[in-house]
Amino acid sequence: MTPEEPRHDRLHTVTITCPDDPQEWRDKARRLAAAEIPPGMIRWTETDETATDLFGTYCETTDIPPARRTVRASRAFLHLAGSVLLHRDRARFPALYRLLWRLQGAPHLMENRGDPDVHRLMIMAGQVRRDIHKMRAFVRFRHIGTPDGEERYIAWFEPDHHIVRANSSFFINRFASQNWSILTPDLCLHWNGTELSETAGARKSDAPAEDATEELWQRYYASIFNPARLKISMMVREMPRRYWKNLPEARLIPELIAGAQAREAAMVETGADPFPGPPPETLQEIAAGIATCRACPIGCNGTAAVAGQGPEKARLLIVDEQPGEAELSQGSPQTGHAAQIRSRLFPHSRITYAIKHFKFTQNGNFRLPKPADARETDICRRWLNAERRIIRPDIILALGPRAGRAILGRTPSLERERGQFIPLPDGSRLILTAHPASFNALSPESRQKAEEKLQNDLDLIPQDCLQPAPEPGLSAE
């Protein structure tokens, strides 16, 4: 044995001084592999652990023996190593070296992802890439302004792996125009608008404790969350709990989850069907039902309900918006605009209301009529729909858009949809017109025009509606 012969039986200790610099490992690994030092003969350490080698079985190798072969590494291997070397697990060095060693005899090894060594390193690389990605996602800057006008955005972040330096260009590309610092336990990055500098690791207390905008962000987070769909496992998978302590919005998570069920229940409650039973089938049932209906605030305001009036087999059904004081006192539709139209033009028609009770605002001693809102109209449709099923009119005349909504289930456009027959699913036809009460506020000229238009709409009603229906039913009321 000549003195130059490398000693393969000797154990080599190789120390990596800079854990996130792939180049250092690559240089050392290449020289070791070139000297044909087998994987089992190397102990890889990082700077901070050389002192803890209690038994002194390894000695630091400064003189790696000279090369005995050329080492080849595929691009795929270098790419993999570039990620794996940033991993915090110390096993990364021997695992990578073993793969490099095996690669010399099996150049296509990297293509076999099912190989246990390749598989394990692929998983480690995936963990590093994920950590890089999560840092980009979860760094939260806090803004501070100094008295001399300098502004700075400072973040505290705790990465799992040695990825801070690898991420610096991402943050420079994104935030080059603002001064920022990212503080981590191992390393801090500082950008001053033109160049990047590094300092040693910091503590969480070195970063600012708060930023006024965070409250706005928390409100946003709470509002964009949809309590009707709770998928906590999905959230935790993508935003693991260990990150929560540094995310301002994560503080809200427990209360959002706790409140979600209650919020959804409340939503369903407000939208719930107020009428659990089957719809009424006779006019008497309707009259009895509306008298006790408390499904919306109008029903609860203490006024009496007013049922429809007219023959049960009427060809024309006139739908007015809601009863007024006079109808309330008489208990039937007799004096209002609709009643006037009926008595003047269509004596054999039937009148009913979209809203069965009287909605009003109190003004001193007077109760002024107040239009029902869409939700109230929609709730009250149950009674009108039942009435339509019983009467089966040929024509429905709706006075005003709210009456139109009660028939159509949507708020119609009066200007666009009046002056024509609107076919309805049950075979009847709707004529939509303005409510005569709305003319009161108009100037004399406009009022005349409005009345002409109303008359035009009324002229659409076929002549046979003037006659009683062929088999006149009894008036229900």
Partner: protein, 413 residues
């Protein structure tokens, strides 16, 4: 309106925006602001900056410019006849909010939608102004997604695309009938025409950029759309078919599904019970099958049951495999790529790894187990060097053996 603080308005307008499913910030040009002018960057893939307890990612500041609306669509919480609190942002306020969130790394950019105030054109102008101001006045290079209004003037929509990375128009409901019933002010033909128009402009802009380096960009992130699932009677087969048409006709990037969820101030004509969330998930899986797994729309439709619905207990790929058992088992070491992609439990990455690895040696079951997530799910459908399923695909109880056993009971029904 002005009496509401910015926080209150943010709450109202974010709350109103949460029914838009898309939060993607991916697929646009790569940009950065290394030059120190402006702010922001985009890369190929998006970043999800936070996740809400509903499992959805928060990538963009997703808000409405206003929730005042002159339309009366039943499924929408902001419809004219709803009693929700109304609020409005000015374009400047949205710009400031976006920038102050972006500077703190809360978001990738802005997703701006709006209720329709005054007119469609007026609203579209305001939204475009937000995007323009971000880009021109502040040099913002982050992501902008504008929900455009189909009724607006086409030139306005075209201007929006100059500033935005992605534009989208919601088709809202899978069938024309559903749209007529639930969104009386909207017009299906008009919506499709607008989608087609945007599609054309995107294609033209791409062509122009091939020839002229400085041709203006138009929505480099493409366009997407959204359908509400479970608000009308459309079944999965119809939904898949509609999505297939939209993809093929207008080269959309994505069709999003939004499971109808009970909204506060719900309209009386809507179903009260939400569809199971898993239905939305199964539709997304079927969407993936068509886009990445070489399934045709008809293939996926064949996996639905007699009522045209995808099974909820198993994924659509498994459902297809169970129906077409004679196509299995597939020889991992010999089958072509498109057959490997049809094996339940094999994803596109696993198939890529199999194709690469089998060039060098015959794969065994343990090789396969390292390439995939769950070998148990795959085993009945494959042949490897040391494994052959013995008539397993003929077993009547195969579905039961593969269906996840511990099904969580529905909590909120």
């Amino acid at each position: 309106m002005s009496s509401l603080s910015i926080t209150e308005r943010l709450e109202i307008l974010a709350d109103a925006a949460k029914y838009d499913a898309s939060c993607a910030s991916s697929g646009t040009d790569k940009r950065h602001s290394r030059d120190g002018k402006g702010i922001g960057s985009t890369q190929g893939s998006g970043i999800c900056h936070a996740y809400a307890p509903d499992g959805r990612c928060i990538s963009l500041l997703k808000i409405l410019l206003t929730n005042h609306c002159i339309f009366d669509c039943h499924y929408c919480v902001n419809r004219k006849s709803s009693n929700v609190r109304r609020a409005k942002f000015t374009p400047e306020e949205v710009v400031d909010l976006t920038l102050s969130f972006y500077r703190r790394n809360y978001i990738e950019g802005l997703f701006l939608s709006s209720g329709i105030i005054k007119s469609s054109d007026h609203t579209m102008e305001q939204m475009t102004e937000v995007a323009r101001s971000l880009r021109e006045d502040h040099g913002f290079r982050g992501y902008i997604h504008l929900k455009t209004i189909p009724e607006a003037d086409q030139d306005l929509i075209a201007r929006a695309g100059r500033w935005a990375d992605r534009v989208s128009i919601n088709v809202e409901l899978p069938t024309e009938k559903g749209l007529a019933e639930l969104a009386p002010d909207k017009n299906g033909t008009r919506i499709e025409n607008a989608i087609a128009h945007i599609g054309n402009v995107i294609t033209e802009a791409k062509d122009a950029r091939k020839r002229f380096r400085h041709a203006p960009r138009f929505a480099p992130g493409g366009q997407s759309t959204q359908m509400i699932v479970g608000a009308d009677a459309a079944n999965d087969s119809q939904i898949i078919g509609r999505a297939g048409l939209l993809y093929s006709r207008y080269s959309l990037r994505r069709v999003y599904y939004s499971a109808f969820s009970p909204i506060s101030e719900a309209s009386a004509v809507l179903p009260l019970k939400r569809p199971p969330l898993i239905r939305e998930h199964r539709l997304y899986q079927s969407d993936w099958l068509v886009r990445f797994y070489g399934f045709s729309v008809t293939d996926v439709q064949n996996a639905t049951d007699a009522t045209g619905m995808l099974p909820l207990d198993i994924d659509p790929k498994l459902a297809w495999a169970l129906r077409y058992r004679d196509s299995f088992p597939v020889d991992i070491n010999a089958a072509p790529k498109d057959m490997l992609l049809r094996v339940p439990g094999l994803g596109t990455k696993a198939v890529g790894a199999i194709l690469q690895a089998r060039r060098h040696h015959r794969l065994r079951l343990d090789d396969l187990s390292r390439l995939t997530r769950s070998i148990a799910k795959i085993r009945p459908f494959v042949i490897t060097a040391n494994w052959k399923p013995t008539l397993l695909t003929d077993r009547i109880d195969l579905k039961k053996r593969l269906t996840p056993q511990s099904v969580q009971t529905e909590l909120f029904t």
